[in-house]
Subunit: 296 residues, 2 copies
């Protein structure tokens, strides 16, 4: 998926060619029949993928994986069933350096297949017990559900909506930096949507919390699945009338307004950035949002 | 929040006047100071609210609630801290008849406050144990987090993104009915966003799964928090070139194309509907999406 009107690359982790085939998930006999010698199992080392020099994911056959491996059904592709193994341990938290390398090296379609699989198997690894009663849970529906053996509660993979947003004021954009960012890197502000608010309300609340700015005219632009661990990034723009900033220093190291020229220069400078700004990487939806704003 | 260009009522559960005051959540001393005689505690009977004849929520003082009540911090309003009590039991699943009555009787702002509180306290009631290791968890940050006493995992309230979408073909809209709907009720198709897909991809997948239709030009229109138990409804439109339907009968009783005239007539008929169609209720975002399409 490309954003209309930009020359940016496709949105990372979007565009998986796998057919999720949800009618098969609910049919244990069909699922069993598909676990044959033709089936492919993603070659994962923990949560990281193995791939070849062309950036193509490597796959095992079912015979290659230990018999007690918990497999989740990703779907159908090339007339073959595709699975992924649940690792012994999951990982919450942001993308680590090795994951950033994976994003650079995998082909876009393979990155999308990997991202969806990663979120799903990581969820299983971290949800082996029932949040309602503490008893063990067992996978069901090809790995798209876990059922509690104690109280009978059903649990489903988590997808956490996060708003990520541009704020515009007099042809400038507000970007901020989190303490964990490399030097000179600024990006769009972001935050989880909470229970009881719309996307637009979450955008306005987050910007006010983090930067002390009130915004209007929130507009949705594009979304991205982000598998560290399972965010749905919801990219928006907004407009501020008063540019005065009050930065929440527990969330941000800094936030500031960048002119169009500063942003253009940083984008043109590519991966090394300018003295002022390291433009968000093309894997991040922030890259696409800023590019959309510059090119529109 | 209103949808531009429609005469529809505000979107139900949106527009809460509470300031979530997240800087207080992370400050146990400040939170403790606010739990005083001025604080207000939502008067809940399980997960349902008590309210007066004007549709205003009723509130207790902290002195009114048993000392061992688990309270979550909703935020600040009228210079007073507002809390809600966690019930003994939660409830997953769709809105029950009593909840539909509440939607009709509460004032819009009170409904928004109630909806956010309901999702949060219900999450606590159903997440007293750690999904990672099975040990008990304890609330933290004013009820916006639970921490595991065993493995140390942190857990956060769940918000599940759901796409709900119009499909347009030659000035007709595709609507479907779930088996649990009352007779003559049809609504927009809907489904959970899964790990590894964008909003637009989820819309296209769901429509194809449920109705066998391929769509293009997916556009975001509006969103709604829906507290049964904690959905973020993401309302979209899309366009189909080929109207032929293949209905997934495990998900839908029926789906069909409605003409503009049929929809106009059903809307004008109000809560009793026409012989053909009972227009979705104003509390549902489907109402707003169809109204937007008719009025645009």
């Amino acid at each position: 998926m490309h954003l209309p009107g930009t020359a940016a690359p496709p949105i990372a982790f979007a565009g998986s060619p796998i057919d999720r085939a949800d009618h098969i998930r609910v049919d244990p006999a069909a699922l069993g029949n598909l676990m044959n010698w033709r089936a492919r199992v993603m070659n994962l080392d923990g949560l990281l993928p193995e791939f070849d020099e062309q950036g193509r994911l490597l796959w095992h056959t079912i015979a290659d994986v230990p018999e007690d491996t918990e497999l989740v059904f990703l779907g159908m592709m090339d007339d073959k069933a595709h699975f992924a193994p649940v690792p012994a341990e999951g990982a919450s938290g942001p993308a680590m350096p090795r994951a950033w390398q994976v994003m650079q090296m995998l082909q876009p379609e393979d990155l999308a297949i990997y991202g969806g699989a990663r979120s799903l198997v990581d969820w299983h690894a971290r949800h082996r017990f029932c949040a309602n009663c503490g008893a063990p849970t067992k996978p069901a529906k090809g790995g798209w559900q876990r059922n509690c053996e104690g109280c009978g509660a059903q649990h489903f993979p988590r997808t956490d909506p996060v708003t990520i947003m541009l704020v515009e004021h007099e042809d400038k954009l507000l970007l901020g930096r989190q303490p964990r960012f490399p030097p000179r890197m600024y990006s769009a502000l972001a935050g989880f949507v909470e229970p009881g608010e719309t996307i637009e309300e979450a955008v306005a609340r987050e910007i006010h919390e983090e930067a002390g700015v009130r915004v209007r005219d929130v507009r949705y632009i594009a979304s991205q699945p982000w598998p560290f661990p399972s965010q749905l990034m919801i990219g928006c723009t907004s407009v501020a009338d008063d540019p005065e900033l009050t930065i929440d220093e527990t969330e941000l190291d800094d936030a500031r307004w960048f002119t169009r020229a500063e942003l253009e220069e940083a984008r043109a400078a590519g991966e090394h950035g300018t003295d002022l700004l390291y433009f968000p990487r093309p894997f991040a939806i922030a890259h696409h949002l800023i590019a959309w704003w510059l090119d529109r």
